[in-house]
């Protein structure tokens, strides 16, 4: 078990390393750096000024060296200015260069500054993660029970009318991407075009004070998409269990159908959906990007869009690391949880 965990953690670190290196390389391409220089030092500056600005702000070294600085395995750059004072990556403006640390990177807990928001990356990410966490929590609360119920009901009697209609619904919701269902939901339930106006088509106020009116549509938009998929998986697993020998035996013994489903079939049928639910997390991150932008909810997905759109290098890297972490940790949990649900499987 420990070895397994260790292997997983190593994979996780390695993946994070590879991904950030790729993101770092892409955001540090020549034209992107030029864009950074221009947005920081004024859009009118000449090409020579761009070069000198980049030089003065530590962008002049090879990409790999700067990646090392960002990681915190190489000492941060220091440049002596014309007036004799020393500026550097690890020297906050106005502080004494003597007492500044040599290394300042992710390993030291320093995530850098966002160029768009003019705030420390760690602050922005924790703020946006908290908001997205809130959204995810309610999505799970709606999606998981809903999907299991749909799946179990459909899978109880394979081929029945209930099965067919519920399956059709779940295929439809899974086949509809968020950017379609979100717009449809806003039009139907939030705009005066249809006139229902039950809910809000904007979730900005939900950042502070989420309630039924302002949070329903974003939650439902994400939940619907994931719900169909989990329901399909649950249904498949349920139908398989319902044809197993021990279920037939129970029926022959005269156990009530209700009890067969609840007592005998359900636990075994839920093993597969558990993995699927855990694997849904990365997918949800995906949907969050669209839904948060659509509903103007300033969480993690919205931050990612802003960071990418503005070539905000350090923010984008921070977002990538957190994403890798979320994806791999949920997979790890799903693997471990699987063992506990299904004793036939051994990790090592």
């Amino acid at each position: 078990m420990l070895r397994f965990l260790l292997a997983r953690v190593v994979t996780m670190l390695f993946t994070a390393l590879c991904l950030t290196l790729i993101v770092f390389a892409l955001t540090n391409l020549e034209p992107n750096l030029e864009k950074v220089a221009k947005s920081e030092a004024g859009s009118r500056i000449s090409d020579e000024e761009v070069v000198s600005w980049l030089e003065r702000n530590g962008y002049g070294q090879p990409t790999l060296v700067r990646y090392g600085e960002w990681l915190g395995v190489l000492p941060g750059w220091q440049i002596e200015q014309a007036d004799g004072s020393v500026r550097g990556r690890c020297i906050p403006i106005g502080s004494d260069p003597e007492i500044a640390p040599d290394f300042c990177g992710v390993l030291q807990g320093y995530w850098g500054e966002s160029t768009v928001f003019k705030q420390p990356v760690s602050e922005i990410i924790s703020r946006s993660l908290a908001l997205t966490g809130k959204l995810m929590f309610w999505v799970m609360v709606v999606m998981v029970p809903g999907a299991l119920l749909l799946g179990v009901l459909a899978g109880m009697r394979e081929g029945s009318r209930t099965d067919r209609s519920l399956s059709a619904v779940s295929i439809l919701t899974t086949a509809t991407p968020e950017y379609v269902s979100g717009v449809l939901l806003i039009t139907i339930f939030a705009s005066s075009a249809v006139g229902l106006r039950w809910f809000n088509g904007s979730a900005t106020s939900a950042m502070e004070d989420a309630n039924f009116v302002n949070f329903t549509l974003p939650v439902v938009t994400i939940a619907l998409y994931g719900m169909g998929y989990i329901a399909r998986m649950t249904r498949a697993s349920m139908t398989e269990v319902m044809t197993a020998q021990y279920i037939r035996t129970a029926r022959l013994k005269g156990v009530k159908f209700r009890n067969i489903v609840l007592r005998h079939a359900l636990r075994n049928a839920l093993i597969a959906p558990f993995t699927v639910i855990m694997l849904q997390f990365p997918w949800l991150l995906n949907g969050v990007v669209i839904v948060e932008t659509l509903f103007n909810y300033k969480g993690f997905g919205w931050t990612l869009v802003q960071a990418a759109g503005n070539n905000d290098i350090e923010l984008l890297l921070g977002v990538s690391v957190v994403s890798v972490f979320v994806v791999l940790v949920t997979q790890l949990i799903s693997d471990i949880g699987y063992v506990y649900l299904n004793p036939r499987i051994r990790i090592s």
């Binding site: 864009k35 221009k38 947005s39 030092a41 004024g42 859009s43 009118r44 500056i45 768009v116 928001f117 003019k118 705030q119 806003i186 939030a190 705009s191 005066s192 106006r197 809000n200 088509g201 904007s202 900005t204 106020s205 950042m207 009116v213 302002n214 509903f295 103007n296 300033k298 802003q306 759109g309 503005n310």
Partner: protein
């Protein structure tokens, strides 16, 4: 009432002349008021010259105290005020950083931190009377030294992106790009004299522009909300770029304006960012998350009307320029620029791009409401000749790329332009960039559209955007004759005389094909019934102390 104290017995001769011009119809009332008040007349005196009574301002008793007003606005990161390049930055900072003078919706100027001002005969010397009894919110008194400190900062042309230096050019020493020796004299603690190097009629108006926020002498050049020392009635509470910015009434500070102009009424003002997509703003309105829009545009004006919100309209010289950057090939070729200009009918762009919510313009960026406007007629629309010009220049098969922001009306205006160019047989590709990326390079795009806010005088915009090397010169236009004519125009206080020079300037703009400038916009804002004093302003200024809301 102290604000009448500046009524002077001797009224500036030029003001009397303007009044004659207004009466004979050469000057609109708005222009008259702007110009007369710029010469130091108070609004009531200016109205008096026309034989009218100034409209009485709404006083405290009609407006309810307290409450929170939530307005949709892009919340941008603040920087040194003289570097502000967006009205939004100024509008948030206005909560605590005030201005020397204020440009009113009716086109007049009135003193804020200045009590009054007078110009000499040829508008080359201005006497500024600093308002008495103003204090900073840290307790320091506001004096002539603070005014001099700020004007000195504005004049520092060595600071990259300081657009105030261009506005204050008659106070700047061109050798050092700093305040000229002797340009400012301190007469006493509340009187300052400005000695201009050349007559400049726009200097007082420029002090109302949004980068002209008055900062405390201890200000160090960073984000002004970090240590918000100002004279204003509000304080910043929250400053989350891209999310929300809030102002709260500063209860510790007794604001000078309460006795003079009334207000402030609101306890709290929240600016909430909904990006640039207008449909997100509609969703916000329908969700009752905001009380007022920053600006309503295009098709969305009708939508907001239909939601039962009140519409406020401001007639302006705001516009969009679909301009060429003459540093980039093929726009360094005058024939190419002329051809593209001739191939489009501005009336069509106004209709398709802006729902006819404005008036057709003539490609020279001087508006009929500017006092010095000269009617030289539009550039003729002639697609056939346009094609000939392009063929002559060797660019008949060239694919032009027209870039615009994803903002509704600007994108639509560019689409209408591109469609007309295609009708004329010219290859055009359209690129639409999101607002977050567009502005990174707005000065550099070879062929793109830029939104321009109005300036009260025609010469102001030409000084800012088309003079050689001006900080917002996005066309890279550089023309010696134009620059010298512009210098000449800047010194002519008489509108009629200036308009003769302006006719030449306008002709150069058209003949050099500097920009397609299709129409003048009216600006609109919507707010829910119960919001008071937050009418749309021609230069987007938010006068927070006038705002109120019925709970």
């Amino acid at each position: 009432m102290t604000h009448h104290s500046t009524l002077k017995a001797d009224i500036h001769a030029a003001a009397r002349m303007y009044a004659e011009e207004e009466k004979s119809g050469k000057l609109s009332r708005r222009e008259f008021l702007t110009r007369a008040t710029a010469l130091g007349l108070t609004a009531p005196a200016a109205y008096g010259l026309l034989g009218l009574t100034a409209p009485t301002p709404a006083w405290a008793q009609d407006k309810p105290m307290g409450g929170t007003l939530r307005m949709q606005m892009e919340t941008l990161a603040l920087k040194d005020p003289r570097l502000f390049d967006w009205s939004e930055m100024g509008n948030f900072a206005r909560g605590w950083l005030e201005y020397l003078v204020e440009y009113e919706i009716d086109g007049t100027l009135r003193g804020m931190l200045l009590d009054s001002w007078e110009a000499n005969e040829d508008a080359s010397q201005f006497t500024l009377n600093v308002r008495q009894g103003v204090t900073w919110n840290n307790g320091d008194p506001f004096t002539a030294d603070d005014v001099i400190f700020n004007i000195t900062r504005w004049c520092d042309g060595t600071v990259e992106g300081n657009s105030m230096a261009t506005r204050m050019s008659t106070l700047v020493d061109p050798e050092t790009s700093q305040l000229r020796e002797g340009a400012i004299e301190k007469v006493d603690d509340h009187t300052v004299v400005l000695n201009l190097s050349a007559p400049d009629i726009a200097i007082i108006v420029s002090m109302a522009d949004y980068p002209a926020s008055i900062v405390h002498p201890s200000y160090d050049g960073g984000d002004p909300s970090d240590n918000p020392i100002g004279t204003g009635a509000y304080l910043p509470e929250e400053n989350q770029v891209g999310v929300r910015q809030t102002l709260v009434k500063n209860e510790e500070h007794s604001w000078w304006g309460t006795d003079v102009y009334g207000g402030p009424y609101l306890d709290r003002i929240e600016y909430i960012d909904y990006g640039t997509d207008p449909s997100a703003i509609v969703a916000a309105v329908e969700s009752e998350e905001i009380d007022a829009t920053y600006q309503s545009s295009g098709d969305f004006i009708d939508i907001f009307d239909s939601l039962g919100w009140e519409k406020s309209e401001a007639i302006t010289a705001s516009t969009v320029t679909i301009r060429f950057n003459q540093d980039s090939e093929p726009y360094d070729n005058r024939d190419v620029r002329r051809a593209l200009m001739m191939a489009v009918d501005n009336a069509v762009i106004l209709e398709l791009g802006y729902n006819n919510l404005g008036t057709v313009a003539e490609d020279h960026h001087v508006c009929p409401i500017h006092p010095e406007y000269a009617d030289i007629g539009p550039v003729p629309v002639d697609p056939a000749q346009a094609m000939e010009l392009l063929e002559g220049a060797g660019y008949a098969d060239y694919e032009f790329e027209l870039i615009s922001i994803d903002d509704d009306w600007q994108a639509a205006s560019c689409d209408a332009t591109a469609a007309q160019l295609r009708d004329a047989g010219i290859n055009v590709a359209r690129t639409v960039l999101p607002g977050s990326t567009f502005w990174n390079d707005w000065l550099k795009y070879p062929f793109s559209a830029t939104e321009w806010n109005m300036r009260p005088l025609g010469v102001q915009i030409l000084n800012l955007a088309y003079r050689t090397g001006a900080s917002w010169n996005e066309t890279a236009f550089s023309n010696e004759e134009f620059d010298s004519l512009l210098d000449e125009a800047n010194g002519i206080a008489d509108a009629e005389a200036r308009s003769e020079v302006m006719a030449k300037l306008e002709t150069i703009m058209q003949e050099e094909g500097v920009t397609i400038q299709p129409f003048w916009r009216s600006l609109y804002r919507h707010y829910r019934p119960g919001v008071m004093g937050a009418e749309m302003h021609p230069t987007f200024e938010h006068h927070h102390y006038k705002w109120a809301i019925e709970s």
